[in-house]
Symmetry: C2
Subunit: 148 residues, 2 copies
């Protein structure tokens, strides 16, 4: 059976995972892209370079972020978050960058690499180092277990 | 290094996987949701019940579908597809339903269950059995391997 997840369960899954799928929309086009992130209280934070997704979120900051743990088609959890994209100021960046390094280094083969190096956007060759937050404004979660 | 994937590599990843993240947009809201799917030539096909995502795609059929295989933050492949959502006619449904059963039964613990049973939308309790296709109109893929 599919069941609704509680808010605590949703935040628990967001805290466990480090890859999300970010959905944004601008100029009539929807874009879904994987991001690495960390949960920082009631917001998701990430670091990237200026590329397509940043340009789209600057145009339309209303975004949707989906995080899941799919073990099988009848054994999964999925959380969907809606919120507003906001770029952090220079003063806000250091503590969030530290959080990202602490959280994401476990997911990187070579731990000497910083999270800035792990976003697909770096293929563009531009490293403007945007650090951003998406505050959780609305959230839903559903889960299924084979034994339920 | 992050590299661009060829069209053949992109289609290869789409054929391997059975869970995608579908992004749609209507009435000012973006929605990202996991779907099960199969690759059918140059289109993605799926089956679901009428719920939020179907209502949004009927309002705006321009969608984005993202498929990935993330082993680590420096070892991943990701393909993004843009296309138009279209619901299949009664005559088109049987062969696609068969394809979905063949493809998806491997991902289900209890193989006696049909793919119709595995979509999160069934929590709504409505089983109108939409079978749909998203023809690949544009596609990009990027990959990274730790040894490259």
């Amino acid at each position: 059976m599919v069941r609704e997840m509680s808010r605590e369960e949703c935040l628990g899954l967001l805290g466990e995972r480090f890859v999300a799928r970010l959905g944004c929309h601008a100029d009539g086009e929807t874009f879904v892209v994987p991001i690495s992130y960390a949960l920082d209280g009631e917001r998701l934070v990430g670091q990237t370079s200026v590329g397509r997704k940043v340009e789209m979120m600057r145009a339309n900051p209303s975004v949707c972020v989906q995080v899941d743990d799919v073990k099988a088609l009848d054994d999964w959890r999925s959380v969907i978050v809606w919120g507003e994209y906001r770029e952090l100021s220079a003063g806000e960046k250091p503590s969030v960058a530290r959080l990202l390094i602490d959280k994401l280094s476990g997911g990187i083969g070579n731990e000497s690499r910083s999270p800035r190096d792990v976003t697909p956007d770096r293929v563009s060759g531009r490293y403007e180092g945007v650090v951003y937050a998406i505050r959780i404004e609305k959230m839903t979660g559903r889960a299924e277990s084979p034994n339920e």
